[in-house]
């Protein structure tokens, strides 16, 4: 599209919309451009930088958050598409000082090194357990394969998730 055409199309769009997101239990109103991703909205406009940008293309999983309980790549989602949604990020998993069982298990099993993919790994794992589809080790490996860990902590990530699953903590609430 030529620049002029783009400008014409852009001119017909509202430059900013008012949306409401419930983030980690707190309602937030945001005035946001239609092209701002949910990831950038969280990191740059809400100040919740726990959700990470690894590729901005839905290829690495570092930006995984829970929207109405389901895990999504927040970099592939425009913030305005989620007006009214309930969003849980890594910052919303612990209850005060008490870590979420997966957070605790990740520490115990050393399922992290640099820590950059960790929030996305944990959010994916929360959804994985809640969905209840993973029955075997290989199921977990497969279903966690949308989250890249360049440090290579995969066996420890598997062990951490298994521990929480075996503890029977079904519905490990976001």
């Amino acid at each position: 599209m030529k620049t002029q055409e783009l400008e014409r199309v852009s001119a017909s769009l509202p430059s900013r919309s008012l949306i409401t997101l419930t983030i980690n239990g707190a309602e937030r109103q945001l005035e946001i451009a239609p092209w701002t991703t949910l990831l950038d909205a969280l990191r740059e406009y809400v100040g919740l930088t726990g959700t990470k940008k690894g590729c901005d293309h839905g290829q690495c999983g570092a930006c995984t958050v829970l929207v109405d309980g389901k895990s999504i790549n927040s970099c592939l989602t425009l913030a305005i598409m989620k007006d009214g949604a309930d969003i849980t990020t890594i910052e919303g998993l612990a209850r005060g000082n008490a870590l979420h069982p997966l957070q605790q298990a990740f520490i115990e099993h050393d399922a992290l090194q640099c820590g950059y993919c960790t929030p996305g790994q944990i959010c994916s794992a929360v959804a994985l357990i809640n969905e209840g589809r993973a029955k075997t080790e290989n199921d977990i490996r497969e279903l966690m394969s949308g989250n890249i860990c360049r440090c290579g902590a995969y066996p420890n990530i598997l062990a951490a998730i298994q521990q929480v699953m075996q503890a029977g903590e079904r519905n490990v609430k976001p």
Binding site: A33, D56, M144, R150, C151
Partner: protein, 741 residues
């Protein structure tokens, strides 16, 4: 209460910050009035910029400035001044210098705007006209232009040949000669490079940076922009992986500092994943190995030559071949290393630089030779086991490689292997078992550390090193806590701050030895002061004894002979009316003693692959790696380091390659969907064995480092297993399925 922490599998002290999202990385400091920079990258590999038109970008409301070579401020003029602590020999690239383009993806403009989305959009409106010139990005076409590169600090060039290698090879009863081809790889840490420069108002800068060396990058900024040392503070408390890519300052740092100074405003520049492929990379390397052996397997000739790429502006070198002259006992050895210049960015150290490539070739060749000899590949290695480094005619400071082979083989079940290729199956799958050896250096450099013990019994130790996921925070806390006998909760270790005591970049697996020794020494200094205070306490039970007769444990100084008698650290300080004890120490390696030995860590890697014969898919079902790397400070984090290296070995063997379209001189698969790294489903059982190894030469702690060793040899073990499964020898990595069917 025990305060023995060294050797204990403690959980990472920074774990909580990382699992709760509280750990902040360089691009996550949202300071007031922050401007966002977005880089415009060159689509051509070589040529000149004819014209840059930024008017359209600048016409958008909210765009602050567009920096190009035409309006960029002058920085220091001498090219040499851009050399950092890890620079290769030559003249480093820096952005917006002039109209010349020297590699594809080179930054040619920086758009700065009030928000990220606007900066990104405006960058698409910067119109650049180029005058392309012919580029050369194919190493194969440069074979006739190979030359011996200039040397680089800490990288030994190959030794002179010994014996009569060519003649010995020609006369050997059994000969193996092969070429191995290794592609370009990119580090791809999960966190893209980013810098947030905070304009402090008085011209001073606080720089949040992704780096393995906060002082290296701070010094670079001071030198390049002519700033005083106290005018720039650089912080990097958390680094989202680096693997070597953070050893040198990357161009977003220069751009962010330049923009902040020009605009007198805080600026962040983050690179995109695509732009991560414009940074340094593991160099493409072609290798020839020729092995001559007697029929009993004794090596009679060993020739190993490597030919690698470098850029047009720096001679990047790494140690690819030297390992081959010391790993096995052989009297006739020739090692060679040459490079040729391509129109790409300078290569960059990447996890186990040199060794990762060199040991793939050597250990593949040893496997090939074992089949020619009809000998078990493990037996062949034991037959040629080197008890001495023949490259340098020196003994090893310690070398438990024989024990690595033994324990690894036993755990893996190597004795149950049937030697014939294609002889093992599991249902439809072909099974293959392979092994290889790994080696890396045990280095120690100079570092300083500071310790502050306050009257409430809390200890803070600091040094300007880094933790890129390696566990530095944790092991330094352990060393400090144990040395002073304090509960670990009372001890904090600080790093990632250029104002802390001097430390080198974190790399080469030398941080545990280097910074660990400084932490140990500074805490020993505090011990001495505490001891003096404790002796002077009224009726002190340790009044008449020597420091050696006292144990520091559980917050007390206690008598060895009667641990029930002692003085608490708090009491000692209170009685002495001391509010805090401060110590700072710099520790140099004992070079005189160390130079008499070759100091290496070793491993034996065993791999099992399952190959689907119809589809050519390969699963690495099991890896057992037995490693001897001196004392293990923390088996939990050390295991993670070795395991991560093994995962990298899987990627190297089966997945990773940066593909150049030679027509454009550009990396085509510059994203994580097309540049494949291992995912969870690619990784199965990994078993790490720490073989006991005592070494009092390498450093007082006896540690050798664990960051690099895990990757070395792993890809060869996998490739050897693939041969055992399929009878197909793949000498070019990665072993993708098209090469098997």
């Amino acid at each position: 209460m025990t305060t023995s922490y060294i050797g204990q599998p403690l959980s990472r002290v920074d774990g909580r910050a990382k699992v709760t999202g509280q750990a902040k990385y360089a691009g996550e400091y949202n300071v007031p009035n922050l401007a966002y920079g977005f880089v415009v990258s060159s689509p051509i590999a070589k040529g000149r910029i004819k014209k840059i038109d930024a008017s359209e970008a600048l016409s958008l409301e909210g765009v602050v400035q567009v920096f190009t070579h035409e309006n960029a401020p002058r920085t220091v003029w001498l090219d040499r001044s851009y050399r950092d602590e890890v620079a290769a020999t030559g003249f480093p690239f820096y952005p917006l210098k002039d109209d010349e383009v020297i590699f594809s993806g080179q930054p040619v403009a920086l758009v700065v705007a009030g928000n990220f989305e606007l900066a990104r959009y405006a960058a698409s409106l910067v119109h650049v006209e180029y005058k392309p010139e012919r580029h050369a990005t194919d190493l194969n076409e440069k074979r006739d232009q190979a030359y011996k590169p200039q040397t680089r600090e800490h990288i030994e060039p190959p030794p002179k040949p010994r014996g009569n290698p060519d003649e010995a090879f020609a006369n050997a009863a059994v000969q193996l000669e092969a070429e191995y081809s290794l592609p370009i790889e990119h580090h791809n840490p999960m966190e893209p490079f980013a810098t947030t420069v905070v304009w402090e108002g008085d011209g001073k800068l606080t720089v949040y940076e992704k780096t393995q060396g906060p002082q290296n990058n701070q010094q670079y900024i001071c030198k390049v922009f002519g700033l005083s040392d106290d005018g720039v503070r650089l912080l990097s408390p958390y680094v989202g992986g680096a693997f070597g890519s953070g050893l040198r300052p990357q161009y977003q740092l220069f751009l962010a500092v330049m923009a902040a100074r020009e605009l007198k405003r805080s600026v962040r520049v983050s690179l995109t994943r695509q732009q991560m492929f414009t940074l340094g990379h593991r160099p493409q390397t072609l290798q020839r190995v020729a092995l001559g052996a007697a029929t009993d397997g004794s090596l009679e000739a060993l020739i190993h030559e490597a030919f690698a790429e470098t850029s047009q502006f720096e001679d990047y070198t790494e140690n690819v071949v030297n390992w081959s002259g010391e790993l096995y006992r052989c009297e006739n050895v020739k090692l060679g290393y040459t490079v040729a210049q391509l129109d790409l960015n300078t290569p960059c150290d990447m996890r186990a630089p040199g060794a990762a490539w060199g040991l793939f070739a050597l250990e593949s060749a040893m496997d090939e030779l074992s089949y020619k000899l009809g000998m078990d590949p493990l037996e062949l290695r034991l037959r040629n086991y080197a008890d001495k480094d023949l490259n340098n005619d020196k003994p090893f400071s310690s070398k438990e490689l024989r024990e690595c082979y033994r324990q690894g083989a036993e755990r893996f079940g190597w004795a149950r292997r049937t030697p014939e290729p294609r002889s093992m199956r599991d249902g439809e799958s072909l099974i293959g078992w392979g092994l290889a050896t790994g080696v890396w250096e045990a280095m120690q450099l100079t570092a300083s550390a500071k310790a502050v013990l306050t009257a409430d019994g809390k200890l803070t130790v600091s040094s300007a090193t880094a933790d890129i996921g390696t566990g530095t925070y944790t092991i330094m806390t352990q060393i400090a806590a144990e040395t002073l006998g304090l509960p670990i909760e009372e001890v904090t270790f600080k790093l990632g701050d250029s104002t802390l005591p001097k430390a080198p970049v974190e790399g080469g697996s030398f941080t545990a030895a280097t910074v660990g020794s400084a932490v140990r020494a500074v805490c020993e200094g505090v011990r001495e002061k505490l001891f003096t205070l404790a002796r002077n306490v009224k009726n002190s039970p340790i009044a008449g004894v020597k420091l050696e007769d006292v144990t520091f444990a559980g917050g007390y100084l206690r008598l060895h002979s009667d641990p029930s008698r002692g003085v608490s650290i708090r009491d000692a300080m209170r009685h002495g009316e001391v509010g805090s004890i401060e110590e700072e120490k710099s520790v140099l390696p004992n070079m005189l003693e160390q130079s008499r030995y070759t100091r290496h860590s070793h491993s034996a890697v065993f791999a099992e692959v399952k190959v689907d014969e119809d589809l050519g898919t390969i699963e690495v079902a099991r890896v057992v790696s037995a490693v001897a790397c001196g004392r293990i400070l923390n088996p939990k984090t050390a295991r993670s380091q070795i395991m991560g290296g093994i995962v990298w070995g899987i990627g190297m063997a089966l997945e990773e390659v940066s593909v150049i379209d030679q027509k454009f001189g550009r990396f085509m698969n510059h994203n994580l969907a097309e540049y494949h790294v291992p995912v969870n489903a690619d990784v199965h059982d990994i078993d790490v064995i720490f073989v006991e190894e005592h070494d009092s030469i390498v450093n007082p702690l006896g540690v050798k480092g664990v960051g690099e060793l895990g990757i070395v040899g792993t890809a060869a073990a996998i490739a050897n297993a693939v041969f055992h499964a399929t009878a197909k020898r793949i000498r070019g990595l990665p072993i993708t399925l098209d090469k098997l069917i």
